[in-house]
Every structure is written in C-alpha cells, then in structure tokens.
Symmetry: C2
Subunit: 370 residues, 2 copies
C-alpha cells in the first residue's frame, strides 16, 4: 500500500484523496492553515512549508510527494526531492510562481502571451505604460490568486493609486486584450512521457474568481483543440512534467490571424477548471494526476456528455433543492463559510448541450453567491 505526501490540504488535496482511496492509496498532508479540508479524511501535519523539523516528520514512509498548491516554496520541494520522489518536478513550481518568469517560460516554449513588462519602481511603471499602452493590468509577480494582488489601469490618472496599493514588491504590467473568451487546457503527462488532454474548457471569472466552467468549451473546433494541445505538449516537454497541469488561455478573435490562444498562466497541479471531470470525464483529473505520479497508465480523458461546473463561493445554498434536480452533483469541501471563500462546487452533467443549458439556468438561480 503506497502512501502519498501532499503539500497543501485544501479542497484540491481533499479531492485527490477521494480519488486515490479507491486505488488503495494512503495520504499524508502538510499544511500551515488552522482549518484544512483534507484533514477530515487523512492524516495531516500542521506546520510551515519552510519548517525543516516539520518536513522531517512529514517524509518518513512516503512513497512520493506531490502538491495541490503552486506557491509551495521551491526550496521545500527541492529539499524533499533529495529524500523522496517529488512530482511534478520542482522546476514547474519555479516557472509558475512568478508571472514574469512564467511568461518568459511560455515564450521560450513557443507559446504566445499578451505584451508585458517588469515593473520594479515608480518610474518603471510609467515607462511600462508607455510601452504596453492602456488599458493594462498591474499585478504582483508572486502570490497572487483569485484576483488578489492586481489593479486595472485605464488612464494615466490610475497610476499613483495603483502604485500606492501594489508598489514595493516586484510587479508586472500586462496589456489588456480584447479576447473572445477564457479557456483552459487540462493536460496530464505520465512518468514515461505519455500525454493526455481533456477537451478545452470555457471559463467565466467574476471579481478575479472562477465562477463557471463549461466542458467541452461551447463550439470547440478540432483546430482550436489542436492548437491548445500543441501548446500543452510544448510546456509539458519543456518541464519534463509529471502529473496534471492546467494552462489558462485567452482565446482571440479568429479574424486577427496568428495564434488564437494566448497563454495567461499555468498551474502545476489539478485545477478548479477541471472539477467537472469527476462526473464529466471517463477518468477525473484527480485520478489521472495520481496515476501519472505513480507511474500507472493514464486513464481516458473522454467526456461523458457535457458538463458545467459552478463554484459555491461565500455561502452554501440549501442542499435539498439542488439535490432534487436531475443531473446535478454536489461537492462540498467541509469549510466554514466566509465571504469570497470557495466552499464547494456543483457539477451538472447531461447527455447534450441543450439539456445542459436548461439545467444550468435552474441551478444558477439556486446558487446565489455573494
């Protein structure tokens, strides 16, 4: 019986464990947070990722280590990798933790991104705005998530206020482009290099947080899927990646020519836009991540009909009305409600897109997030 160590014990870790128990696995989590969704169903150590004593308690008996959180310190991942296999490779964390490094990595791998510039001082902000143009988004290079650590700049008058809010840490200025929609690719690569892709998903964010994913992305063409997979293949190979990786893209209008997909960011882990795979795909992203890191054959990524995933943010709606609807599957994370917190998600899976849209309207009426 193999035991997998997971850095981070949030909902992603929890769903990894739920997918892994049927494979006969055991889990041990490490997370600094007081409350951790995965601790309800597995052993959990509480401690900082940088705490060597804690890391030494964490590793004995582990067959391998993985993470559900991309901001695990790279030094921690490298320290662990000297003691036990760590997947995905720590280099993937490094590439994903800093928005400038990430975009440079995308370019090196042959992917396109929006224009961007480093910003390390107030004068550099002015120069960057002249270079990139407005509107643009000023973001912290590190530790941003769910829309935190970013400010939209529409006119030069927005610069002083934005600098007051974000200045003092390394920043990036990104051009705001008129994209058609946001899509994401869930990719998985096994230890032997086998690669599989889920179909592109269409994502809808509000206030920087993912609200809705539709899978497959409506109107998805073979061309677009192929372009995404080519991007995915380049990233996976460049990192000698093992496990599930998510890449978020802006899909640009076809008329503009050139690539349709601009890589926005990547997550070297299972991803919120892949939760639909639990019911909507032959093999879930969670099971496929575990298969990959264990060196087992990857499972089919084929869809079972169409799916929509709606995040439950801030409050949990009454369960009975939701569960009385056909085709609806509820996933709660065992977290205390708090504004802006992802508490669960609902997946609607139907045989066809028309039924999906009909169901979705009803579900969205029941799910009033803040």
């Amino acid at each position: 019986m193999k035991t997998i160590g997971i850095l981070g014990a949030g909902q992603l870790g929890r769903m990894l464990a739920l997918a892994g128990y049927p494979l006969g696995l055991r889990f041990r989590f490490l997370d600094p947070a007081a409350e951790a969704p995965a601790e309800q169903l597995a052993d959990r150590l509480t401690g900082a990722y940088e705490d060597l004593v804690c890391l030494q308690q964490f590793t004995p008996g582990l067959d391998l280590v993985t993470y559900e959180f991309e901001n695990v310190p790279v030094t921690t991942a490298r320290y662990l990798a000297q003691r036990v296999p760590v997947y995905p490779p720590p280099a993937a964390l490094e590439a994903a933790q800093d928005r400038v490094v990430e975009k440079q990595f995308f370019h090196q791998a042959g992917l396109s991104t929006v224009p961007f510039a480093e910003v390390n001082s107030r004068p550099e902000l002015t120069t960057a705005v002249q270079q990139i143009g407005l509107p643009a988004i000023l973001k912290t290079r590190r530790h941003g998530y769910d829309g935190k650590g970013q400010v939209v700049l529409r006119t030069v008058e927005d610069l002083p206020q934005a600098w007051t809010v974000l200045g003092g840490v390394p920043l990036i200025l990104e051009a705001m482009v008129s994209f058609e929609r946001e899509v994401s690719l869930l990719a998985v690569r096994g230890r032997e290099g086998t690669i599989a892709f889920y179909p592109l998903v269409q994502n809808q964010h509000r206030e920087g947080m993912l609200r809705l994913s539709l899978a497959p992305a409506p109107g998805l063409t073979a061309d677009l899927q192929q372009e995404a997979e080519e991007c995915g293949r380049r990233v996976l190979s460049a990192l000698d990646y093992v496990g599930v990786l998510a890449i978020e893209f802006f899909q640009m209008p076809a008329a503009q020519g050139g690539p349709r997909l601009l890589a926005n960011e990547m997550a070297p882990r299972v991803h919120n836009s892949g939760h639909w795979t639990i019911e909507g795909a032959e093999t879930s992203q969670f099971e496929n991540h575990l298969r990959a890191v264990l060196g087992l054959p990857l499972g089919s990524t084929a869809c079972l009909g169409c799916a929509a995933m709606i995040n439950l943010i801030g409050t949990i709606p009454p369960l009975a009305p939701l569960l009385s609807l056909p085709d609806v599957h509820v996933h709660l994370y065992g977290k205390s409600p708090r504004p802006g917190r992802k508490l669960g998600h609902v997946t609607v899976r139907t045989p066809d897109a028309a039924t999906l849209l009909a169901r979705l309207t009803v579900v969205q009426r029941l799910v009033h997030d803040e």
Copy 2:
C-alpha cells in the same frame, strides 16, 4: 456539518464515507475488528457492538446512526435509537438476521420463497427432508455470509455429516430449486417515503461468494423489473424502511407460471451487487443511502450505459494492466490480502452491452482470484 455514525467499518462503510464527503458530511465508525478499511479515512472506535461504554463514546455529537453490516445486534441498534435517529429501522435488522424470520417476513409481505423448514434437532432434520425433498440446503439461521454455515444435501446419506458440521445451533432447510439465474434489486426509500429502484442486476456466485454482477441484468424485461419493484415496494413499506435495501431473488423459468421471482434473502444496507452504481448509475447506492437517511431528495437511479462488477477476492492483480484498459475502474479497500477475502472490485462501464462483454473477457483474464 453533519456527522454520521456507522456501525461497521468495512469496505461498505469506506465507500459510504467516500460518497458522503462531497456532501459535506463527517463520519465516525464503530467496529470490533483489528483492521478496518474505513479507519483509513475517518475516525473509528474499536470495540464490541454490545459494549455499552463504547456505545456511549460513540454517540456524542452524531446526527444519526446507520450500519453497513446486518449482523449488528438488534439490542445495540435499539439502544442507539433511544439516543439518536437510527436508519434503517432496527426492525429491518431483526427481519434480516434470521433466515426463518426473514422468509416468514417475505411471506407476510406477499413475496414468494423456496419451500423451507425449521430444523432444531436431528429428528427434525429427517422430518424436514421428508417434507422439502432433496436436493436441499441446510443452513444456520443466523450469522451465515458468503456461503459460510451451509451444506448441500443431495441424498439421505449426506444427513449425518451435515448434522455433525452444523447441528447444535438453530438451522433451516431450504429446497434447492432449478432457477434460471440469481438477480438482485437495489431499492432505496427516503424518510418521507419516496422510493427509487435501480434496474435488476444479474449475479454470479462461486463458493457462496459474489463474483460478478451485470447491470442491468441481460435481457431484463419491463415485466420482470415491475415484478421485482412490486416485491421491493412491499418489503420497504412493511418495514417503514429508510435507506438502501438489497433483495436477492432466484429468477424461475417463465414456463412454470406463477411468480418469476423467489425472494432468497435481503440485506438492510448497501450491497456488493450495487457497487457498479458508482460509475454505472447517475447516483451511486452509497450516495442514495446517505441522501435517504439524511432526509434529502433521492438521486436518479438511471444507468449510464451498461456495467459489470467483478470482485477481487484473495489477491489483488497488478494494477497497471487493468488500468491500461479502457472503461475499467478499480476500487481497492485497503485490506491485507487473505484467501477468500473481498479486497476490492473492478467496474467496467460501457455505452452498450456488446462492448461490455468484449471488455469483460479481457478483465476476467487479468483478475485471477483463487
């Protein structure tokens, strides 16, 4: 957040917890065994079901109690029911624990069974054989499972040996009938009386243990399903039942007239012949049991294509070849291998029956049980 107490921490309890975490539930198990599959993913008390001190430690903070094991002492269930809601009702345990009481209950509810007779002494065995005829099966009335505690009688010469093996405890003699096949009905009834049925499943036993279930039962007709559901409805109503209940039937040849289904036994719990529902039905038996006992709306019992469930008994085959097959889903219970022990199961789910049979042949070659 609700906490459910479960008596018995075997694989059924483990799969109940795996289905219940996404509903935001927590679990506490009670089981006397040294090794218990559910303890890997939930709190577990170790102690006898009759141990009052243990039961008093078990109940605080529980919202309700259910069981995964039908041989929990009825007195225990009644003791708990004075402190916390217990579903299914303890009366269902009572009806299912004794083969004579069970068959009498079936008759009272209007179901048919094979001819049977009580046997409490050696002379009564002779009388029962004269009354029932041979071949027949002599069984202990209580605590038999997976073919244990039973002997087939083919001629009167078999009687002395059978008596030596089983005599001394209350017995039942059952006629051996020439049935077409064994089928089982998974039924679920909510707290408000709503009832749902999964399609009949065809079961194949060997050495008294379930080896293979096919869902829906090949060639299942609407008439047969209706006859089974009528039986199910009678049993559920008679017991004012809440939760999932399994009834095993012998399906008799149509030519004989009368009822096609003879009730063999029932299990007031989730059942091995319902494991296929995890991938093969819209809502699994485990989730529906939890929905029922919580008073939540039942989920759809519709099939997603066809499914076959193969038990892994005694040994676990290498995972990689199994996982490399399409449509295959592996479920291990985290148990140490031991001859005759159910260690896991494999479900094959396909869009149609022809593909199912093709896959099944391959899977069965890989799954060599003892």
